[in-house]
Assembly symmetry: C2
Homo-oligomer: 122 residues x 2
């Protein structure tokens, strides 16, 4: 935790490293969140189904990612009171918006990978 000692930077914009926008940005661009958002764009999904579709994710990280996205209002969690319990995750309207943009950014980059690789070799 870093303390602002003076009034040197009090704007609420992107230059404030700990502004809410930056925190949410980190959430939605995190390693697994990108994949969760992409997976949920095709429709609601259960925990174990997500775990299967997103290869390599641990239970801990999937649960953590889903909790964060839920807290931010991007993902809806629906528990069916059965035994064993069934939990279904889906995108909220807000979640669909962010999912579209995040995957859009990934796709924009993907389209330019040839150019980027080109620079790297030069």
């Amino acid at each position: 935790m870093q303390v602002m000692t003076g009034g040197e930077r009090m704007r609420g914009d992107v230059f404030d490293t700990n502004c809410p926008s930056r925190i949410v940005l980190d959430h939605v661009t995190s390693k697994w969140a990108v994949l969760v958002l992409a997976a949920l764009r095709t429709g609601p999904s259960r925990f174990s189904e997500l775990r299967r579709r997103i290869g390599g994710v641990s239970e801990k990280m999937l649960a953590q990612t889903l909790r964060t996205l839920e807290a931010d209002g991007f993902v809806h969690r629906e528990v069916a009171p059965t035994t064993p319990p069934q939990v279904t995750y889906s995108l909220t309207p807000l979640g669909e918006g962010i999912a579209e943009r995040v995957t859009g950014l990934v796709d924009w980059i993907a389209d330019r990978i040839p150019e980027i690789q080109d620079v790297r070799t030069r």
Copy 2:
């Protein structure tokens, strides 16, 4: 480093955690890269000027971030052969594209912070 043991996931899309797009996404959405891109959108800037404008960044992290962005082709580094040396950083055309989109994403999120905070308190 994780090894793919089978052919279970060979697509080149977003579901491949280590695909080039994801790597570049991590670069440009990293803590300091977002701020560097935002700072450079207003025009070329020198090392120490960037350090002043982006409060809290260490020399090491600024240098590291700039080297990564340069390697990806988003930032151009111009050295004037004077003493003391003058190094000027600027966005490449590719860099302007990504800067626009990254800050756009941050702004999109910023616009919805009220909604998000609303969910958090509920």
